[in-house]
Amino acid sequence: MTAPLFLLAPPRSYTSLVNAMLGQHPQAFGLPELCLFNVDKLVDLWRGSTGEISENGALVRHGLLRAVAEIYCGEQRTTTVNMALAWATLREEWDTGQVFQEIVGKIDPLMAVEKSPSYSMSVKRMQAIHRAFPDARFVHLVRHPVAQCKSLMAINDGAFSLKMEGFELGEDYALLEPQVAWHDINMNILDFLDEVPAERQMRLRGEDVMAEPERYLAEIARWAGLRDDDEAVEAMMHPERSPFACFGPINALFGNDPNFLAGPTFRPHKPKLPSLTKPVPWRTDGKGLMPEVVGLARDFGYA
């Protein structure tokens, strides 16, 4: 069975685009966000978790249902999604690693490519991936903290940051602070990658992939043991051809970032890299990035 490739990154780090691009490689299969390793057993995706920042709404299941419908039935319709529900019911007591292994086995010899940003919220979740797939490869995708945080704050007022308890605490105030989430998620990934052999991990700046896609996609393909010829690279330049690069049937609409689903076509561009030392736009007190965030961003190659 071909070992899968996982993208690890905070949300809003070009993961949807890069995942769909790699998934279009003739020897790969790009999956939607399965979110399987968020939980231990498959049924837990339906049980949900409790609390004010619970993440297990119905949307978390859309990726899995769409993937099963596509892989087992060859199309995503309401009827095939209902079949996928029955498929999941039969496996509800399974360990989610086992469920993922079955999916990977089904698309073998194609290499499964997946990214669920929720995996990087906890080292334990990433360790569960590694237990299920000891030979898996991991791409740590990074994005400039200011650009990532701005993008994060534009969605539901930065609600994701709360899931990571990303806030600043003063003597008499608490303030939502997305750079805490950027920092802590990347730290989680670095902690996890300590246990992955160097040859099976790679770090990339999302901005570099956007600016020089052919070069970096070919580089990833070579590292992953896939073809890197012109035909393969050209295929990867068309993420919009993925069966998951659009909204799904009415009973499983999402499975990915809605912005990506609405406009999956890739246009090469060179993203601007903001300053690491100026005030950040989401704060009104004129403060900038925290020293720890600046230090980590510099480690990632941002000046």
């Binding site: 080292v123 007022d157 308890e165 750079q179 989680n188 902690d191």
Partner: protein
Amino acid sequence: MSDPASPEESGRKRLSPAPLNPETGRPDATLMSPQQRALRAAMMDAFNAKKARRFLERQVKHINVNRDLADGIKFLFDEHGRPPPNAPLEDIIDERRRIEYQIKWFEGVLLELNNRLVRVKEVEDYAFEMLSRAVPEE
């Protein structure tokens, strides 16, 4: 595989004020001090109030303009107003019918369960009454 990585072992500090929960590996606000929890709760209240206000603003806009709730799902359609290829109108109608059918079915089951509950309660009450009458004779 080597020993599991953890922030303690790696020395990589986190910035979140909430300590990591060793069971989930995620920051856990319940492990903070009461004062910190209160500050966080105030922040959450402000966040939720803002969210609710925005939601209400959107709803009021729908009602005021043309009661067109479909505006809320406009993002699903392309620039020509075509629905997503995977979700033709027929499927949307079928899904609506299916949900209506399931609601009716659940309502039927609920009614049946309520009737059974009433009957079982009657039997239970009668049994207790009989028992209470029988005890003094013993």
